[in-house]
Symmetry: D2
Subunit: 258 residues, 4 copies
């Protein structure tokens, strides 16, 4: 991606796979300002996430990142049914105002709801339409509009899960097979102490997803955040593919994200 940046700009990038996402066998992170190498500092984020802070003078900032990842088959160990992490992801958040949606979730989804039935409800119901939502769109607005992009599908699924007492969070991922190719957003819901990955868009197989950032909603997983100065995104390209054939996914069997 390329940015036009002002003097004194600081960007926090979340584009590298999380430390827990598997074995990185090759990785190349190149930042150049007007063709000259620029410095990057890595910070540890939540859930193994890695933030790369770029401080830049004025100019054209180019950021290129390439990695080869061997997904580990083992997901995270099951946690306690009710630990602090579970409680954190029951809480309402910026784009998932679950506190305001408890009534709707109860009457629409019924007493025996599971994370799976919620993700299926969102998949069956919402129209996947790019351009209908914006950066401040909430799950409630998505419910009303009944349309959105991957982050809107994820936000609505998360909000409904939390409103039904199921801890849920958003994972930004690389998604081989996604069309059109882009960063992707999926849901992790806590089922029997394990974080199960759900993709209410069903646009990419879950077993080849590579975790980048994890958090309450898209506020935690933006791929670039301007912390100081100003940066205008000029160009942007994401590529993710698997060695060999893309696996299939019925989107009903349990999968965990490395």
């Amino acid at each position: 991606m390329t940015f036009a940046v002002e003097p004194g700009t600081v960007l926090a990038m979340q584009i590298a796979p999380a430390g827990t996402a598997g074995n990185l066998t090759v990785e190349q992170f190149t930042v150049t300002l007007d063709g000259q190498p620029a410095a990057v500092t890595e910070l540890a984020g939540d859930h193994g996430g890695r933030l790369h802070v770029v401080r830049s003078n004025a100019g054209r900032l180019q950021i290129a990142y390439t990695a080869t990842v061997r997904p580990t088959s083992a997901g995270p160990a099951p946690g306690d049914a009710l630990d602090t992490e579970a409680i954190t992801y029951l809480r309402q958040s910026r784009y998932c105002p679950s506190d305001a949606m408890v009534g709707f979730a109860g009457v629409e989804l019924g007493p025996d709801t599971t994370a799976d039935t919620i993700a299926e409800w969102v998949f069956e119901r919402l129209a996947y339409v790019l351009g209908t939502s914006g950066p401040t769109t909430t799950a409630l607005e998505t419910l009303a509009a009944n349309a959105g992009a991957c982050r809107d599908f994820a936000h609505l699924t998360i909000a409904l899960c939390r409103a039904r007492g199921i801890p849920a969070r958003l994972a930004a991922v690389y998604a081989p097979g996604l069309t059109p190719m882009d960063f992707h957003a999926v849901v992790e819901a806590r089922v029997d102490g394990t974080w199960r990955v759900l993709d209410p868009t069903r646009l990419a197989p879950r077993s080849s997803l590579v975790r980048i950032a994890t958090g309450r909603d898209a506020a935690d997983t933006a791929f670039a955040t301007t912390l100081a100065g100003d940066a205008e995104l000029l160009t942007f390209e994401v590529t993710a593919h698997t060695d060999g054939d893309l696996p299939s996914d019925d989107h009903t069997t349990p999968v965990t994200l490395a």
Copy 2:
């Protein structure tokens, strides 16, 4: 009702039955400030509505209104299928943001929706709970909370009607039989050129309702609006009853409001 008012206060009251609401055989409108009679000016509102403007100095303002109304059996004449009035009441309004709810209405209600099926959907689904909503609550918030008072039931019904292309508006009414007694809010939807009255709360028989004010939503029908100065509502009592027995209402047969 009694208000504590500041100097230079102007109140617009909407508590008298609309001119179209039937034959007023007895009517008494008494306004006193600290026990002395105070002046009232009547203005004609939309749809036969009557606004009473009260200009008051500081003191304790008491407003008492009593009327006997013989509801006329004939409703308003059918209008054109698509006249200006119908177009006006298709528009989104303060508490009925139908423009944001078109997607939800489409997927939830289906292509053959009628005003009747919408009012029944709201009746079957929402919980009638006083105190869950406030003066700025919108139909979208009511959908999310799945609970509200009569005005919330009306707003959600109206918003869904408009989102499905059915003109709909709110009528503030006196409702004999309502428990607890209060001003009531119902819906008028345009069906085959006629404004049919629907009560998604089903809390009072429609044939003995008496229209007070009519408009896009509760913004148009507030029983008291402070136009200048300041007035604090201290006490408040509404009584409405019929001569003889209260009629029954199956809430499915068509009824029009005088």
Copy 3:
């Protein structure tokens, strides 16, 4: 403008100058469906507005409208200080939630606010940036974002006026001199019984504006509303110019809109 329309589509157009806008010396309204003339019905809207209802089968619908208008110098006669019309335009509406903004308006604008000082406050403060707002953006969101297009400037001005007890409404107009040329939205505020026109964007001289539609906010003045079927806007062009030089406007002297 050109639309791709589905079978059974009904469009309500608001593009002709209001009947009160002056003397129409030439007017041509052409509607063709795939090159063949199509029928148009005119309805009378509020404030002299004219709605043109177009019923269309599937195809490419082309709508062209041209008029020459001689603005009348006399504005509307002053009304009562407090008539029904003034009360109507004190009410909160879809995009002008003045009821929620009373506190802000009071502390920010002070006790001696006038419609002029509010329009000036909005002009001085807001950034005119196309593309920052969408069709559901409210005055409160505009206040938070501090940026918008002409309708956002108008909505914020209207909401603040109403929150300060000043009746205000939106007028959609043709605006010779506007750059880039488009439909324009301005404010009418009730001052001493007269509706004074204010343009918080100051992008076009007020004396050559030509009124199209008038209402509570943009919900009342959309240039095209799909009442049935579906119509996708394909192309769109607005032109408005004066004979001779464009008048100047200091945006402080009182002007009324014909």
Copy 4:
């Protein structure tokens, strides 16, 4: 506090001082269900916070907590100017939608804003009025209403800080001297690598505050959250006092919260 609880209810309490809040010299946490002792599990929360999970059968649940705390004079060690924690608390959250308020914050507060000037702006401007806000009120709604309770003052301060690039978070605290006595909410803003405590209500001296829970906004610091079942709060009493005289606070000198 006393709750009426249903079978299978699980409550997460956040009422004990955080582990970092000083030396707890006496502490008593008593939970009884219909007079019989009930079990409590302690979980570690963020920032030294302590969650107490209570699992209860049906009955009347009584929770009493008493502690004596000797506030430590040393605050937390200064962190890096830009670590992960700082980035976390720059993010928009449920009640602090700073992403939508960047424009307003910029024009209203100017380029040289500090956390102190923001807290002072909120203090000077907002009216402290209990009952004007509800559990879902956001900082943007508080800005519009210009009134609220301590959590609303905190949310608006936090949202404006973040919108100006200053990391900020909410701390729920015991506040000796607060009138009327209740749980209190204050702000921590990151200044020169240190979390400085600010109280935009100025209702209690900051040096005797005792931290309970810390988070992005009130979604993280609720004193009781129902994780399963149902619990109705029946009675509720908070007491907090200092040995000796209450310290004074000019609310301008820097204070950190233990």
